[in-house]
């Protein structure tokens, strides 16, 4: 009986492990519309601004959420592209916190993707065209891990930097009932 249980546990482990541990270096996510159709909503862009629109996600599906390597890459990109400049290590500062359960523009993968690509009013830069989409999906997966939305064995552990604490320490749900501010119309002047 016990050996059988062990084997079942090992088999379950096996099924999750293959995807979790895969290191893929050259597979584009293919989860974007082919053409740039979504408008930029943020007024800021890094380095030299691009004109034109950005690509939107095809499906509300985060391609890297089962892959620990990709999520960890997302964590490194979050550091490298200075997301922490406004969001700190998830606790927020100039920008809103990312590790709590309150999302102004949606906490599902497609919403986070568009927030990054399009930018948002009041300071979120528009990274579309600046950060390759695969990397944006990796960042999306990492951002979702910060609020505990990823499976425990895939979610990254602490970084080798100053440590902000666990998602459990994030601000609570009391802000959930506040009305969300409406999204501005595309092209509206601010």
């Amino acid at each position: 009986m016990r050996p059988a249980l062990i084997l079942v546990a090992l088999a379950a482990l096996a099924l999750t492990a293959c995807e979790r541990e895969a290191r893929r270096f050259d597979t584009p996510s293919k989860n974007q519309t082919p053409a740039e159709q979504a408008p930029r909503m943020g007024t800021l862009q890094p380095a030299a601004p691009l004109q034109g629109q950005v690509r939107a996600p095809l499906r509300n599906d985060s391609p890297y959420e089962e892959n620990a390597y990709a999520v960890n890459q997302g964590k490194r990109l979050y550091r490298w592209y200075n997301c922490s400049g406004c969001h700190s290590m998830g606790g927020g500062g100039i920008g809103p916190p990312l590790m709590d359960s309150e999302w102004r523009y949606g906490g599902d993968p497609a919403s986070i993707f568009t927030s990054i690509m399009q930018g948002r009013p009041q300071g979120m830069p528009s990274f579309g065209g600046h950060i390759p989409e695969d990397q944006v999906w990796q960042i999306v997966a990492y951002v979702r891990s910060m609020s505990g939305q990823l499976r425990k064995d895939v979610a990254p552990s602490r970084a080798d930097t100053l440590y902000p604490g666990n998602p459990e320490n994030a601000r609570g749900k009391e802000h959930m009932e506040q009305a969300q501010p409406p999204l501005p119309e595309p092209g509206a002047r601010r």
Partner: protein
């Protein structure tokens, strides 16, 4: 005849003491009763309950050899990849897993455990007793080892094999740079194998100290037993360091501690110090049993007792002490203070002295003996070429300036293989050829043995000698490929050819072993004319090993029979319960009789529970809490005294 219980245990009796005692020769009623008493429980369930040291040791040896073969296959793939520059047989990710698994398997799952396994088989036979101490814990140690190895290889099979090297330096192996669970499996495998090694070490030390044939004073203890005693003490001190290091790593990765995070007050070098404090004695854990093999084989094939017994024993002990003072020589390229490094240079050079003493004593033994050139001796002679060469390159590595040039290059790869294969694997093969007839009752083929030896010897040198030059020409370790035109191409190809030859040689030995096991000539009790007590038993030994416990009058009891009129055996141990004679530590005077545990499923079940705890704690810290419950339950069931056994033991007691 009385009936046995469901696990094959002998039938319960009332308060009457079992009457039959040992002391009569083979074929007697007592001898037959002993065989029944000590027999392994039959059947499928009985297989999980075995606690006999010979059975467990044979399983243990085979498990280790399977790991050896798997790690060797990985090495073969690596050599294929490196045979040509710019090769893409395997990519960087798979190559990193391969070299990490190769090193980890060889060091943790083969090199130390196989030595302990051979000792668990041989020591009771060599010491003139019927069982190791703590037979159930011994079984537990093997089951735990088996499960840990299976866990690691299952992880490798599903792309979760460790990929940070066998010594897994942080921060690369830390939470930020090794995502996923690969390094967690590695770190937890360490917990498995180190616990198993600690258990085996405790078993070996207690056996050697308390369960010897009367008359086998410490001054008459076989040198192989001395080697295993010294090794086991080293295990007790070295293993906790690596368990601590790997536990801190698991905690960093799982629950976000900062032991190794410099940004929050931790230190990257803490890992290196903790690991190498274990890691350097680890290689001596592998090397010293090899020295023990040499001291067992050379006297037999030189037809004389070993020269310089006292010097040999003191050398073993000195080596063990000094081995704990060398670890920083793995860290010479870091920024630890230069003056401190010089002390470790001196210590690393001076440890050569006790080894040199041993080598000169063996040479003196060979120089004054009558030589019998059989396969075991050939493997032992290879030691003098391979290990000495490796030790001399070790002296080069001990000097800080030289080490700063060749550290982390193929020069070190060459050195470590020369000392490990020369100092442990060749003696181990010699030991297999030497004791195979005893273990299986069949002789191995001398022709195949000699063929295997020459293939291994030539193949090994062709594979690893060019690596010295590769290191001096700048080739670093752990590279999955290299550019053409750096002068490394030809040497790498040669090394690959040598590796293939070495693999062939090992394969020939495997073939030899299987053929001999199935159809080899039956072996007499003493095919080599050896001097130690294991050669007094039939080949293979009966399950109770000695039907009569012998009394020992010299260092080589087979060569030094009892003087006229002196007793040759002791008698009076029960033949119907598992009774063992406990002797004093220094002079092996009979002290008291002890009832030994019968076969039991609880070691297996406790190992399973421990496995669940360890594997669970890779995924969640709560496993430590909830997993403790089955562990506690199985341990309690294991140790709970049984009324029947207690009654039997009480009935056997005699007032002094």
């Amino acid at each position: 005849m009385s009936r046995r219980g469901p696990l094959g245990e002998e039938p319960a009796r009332g308060a009457d003491a079992p009457q039959l005692k040992d002391g009569e020769g083979p074929g007697s009623r007592a001898a037959l009763a002993l065989e029944q008493t000590w027999a392994d429980p039959p059947g499928f369930f009985g297989w999980f309950c075995v606690v006999n040291h010979k059975t467990i040791a044979k399983r243990f040896i085979i498990t280790c050899l399977v790991f050896f073969a798997l790690a060797g296959l990985m090495a073969a793939v690596m050599r294929m990849q490196l045979a040509r520059p710019g090769n893409n047989l395997v990519g960087p990710d798979m190559y990193n897993q391969l070299f990490s698994m190769h090193g980890t398997t060889m060091m943790f799952l083969f090199a130390v455990p196989v030595m302990q396994a051979v000792a668990i088989y041989l020591l009771p036979l060599m010491l003139g007793t019927r069982s190791v101490a703590f037979p159930r814990m011994n079984a537990y140690g093997w089951w735990l080892f088996l499960f840990g190895g299976i866990m690691l290889f299952t992880a490798f099979a599903v792309n979760s094999g460790p990929d940070a090297g066998w010594f897994a330096y942080v921060p690369l192996s830390g939470p930020d740079y090794s995502p996923g669970k690969r390094v967690d499996f590695w770190a937890q495998m360490i917990t498995f194998t180190e616990l198993s090694s600690l258990v085996a070490a405790i078993v070996i030390i207690t056996t050697i100290f308390k369960f010897r044939a009367p008359g086998m004073t410490l001054n008459r203890l076989p040198l192989f037993a001395w080697a295993m005693l010294v090794t086991s003490f080293m295990v007790l001190f070295a293993m906790p360091a690596v368990m601590l290091a790997s536990s801190a790593l698991i905690m960093d990765r799982l629950i976000g501690t900062h032991f190794y995070n410099p940004a929050e007050g931790g230190d990257v070098l803490l890992w290196q110090h903790l690991f190498w404090f274990f890691g350097h004695p680890e290689v001596y854990l592998i090397f010293i049993p090899g020295l023990g093999f040499l001291s067992a084989i050379i006297p037999t094939f030189a037809r004389r007792p070993i020269f310089g017994y006292t010097a040999m024993v003191l050398s073993l002990i000195t080596t063990a002490f000094l081995a704990f003072g060398l670890w920083v020589h793995h860290m010479f390229a870091t920024n630890v203070p230069e003056l401190g490094k010089s002390f470790f240079t001196a210590a690393s050079m001076l440890i050569a002295i006790p080894t040199a003493i041993q080598i000169f004593c063996w040479l003196a033994t060979l120089a004054t003996g009558r030589l019998n050139f059989k396969t075991p001796l050939l493997y032992v002679l290879a030691f003098f070429f391979v290990l000495v060469l490796g030790g001399l390159t070790g002296l080069m590595l001990a000097a800080v300036p030289l080490d700063l040039q060749v550290h982390d290059t193929y020069f070190v790869v060459a050195h470590l293989h020369y000392v490990l294969i020369g100092g442990a694997v060749f003696p181990l093969f010699g030991a297999f050829y030497y004791w195979f007839p005893k273990m299986t009752g069949r002789m191995m083929s001398e022709a195949l043995g000699k063929l295997s030896f020459w293939l291994m010897f030539i193949g090994f040198n062709v594979a690893f000698f060019p690596m010295h030059m590769l290191g001096l020409h700048g080739m670093p370790r752990r590279v999955y490929t290299y550019q053409a035109g750096l002068g490394w191409d030809g040497l790498n190809l040669l090394a690959t050819a040598g590796a293939v030859t070495l693999a062939l040689g090992i394969f020939v030995s495997l073939v030899n072993a299987i053929r001999s096991r199935l159809a080899g000539a039956p072996a007499p009790a003493d095919p080599w004319g050896g001097g130690t007590l294991e050669w007094a038993t039939p080949s293979p030994p009966p399950i109770a090993s000695f039907h009569r416990i012998p009394i020992v009058y010299g260092r080589d009891p087979m060569w030094q029979p009892p003087p006229a009129g002196a007793p040759a055996f002791v008698a009076g141990l029960s033949a119907q319960t598992r009774e063992q004679l406990v002797t004093s530590v220094l002079d092996a005077l009979p002290d008291h009789r002890m009832s030994f545990p019968t076969p039991s499923p609880w070691p297996f079940l406790a190992a399973l529970a421990t496995t669940v705890l360890f594997i669970g704690s890779i995924f969640t810290p709560w496993a430590v809490v909830w997993g403790s419950v089955p562990v506690a339950v199985t341990l309690i069931a294991w140790f709970w005294p049984r009324m029947r056994e207690t009654a039997q033991e009480l009935a056997l007691e005699k007032q002094p």
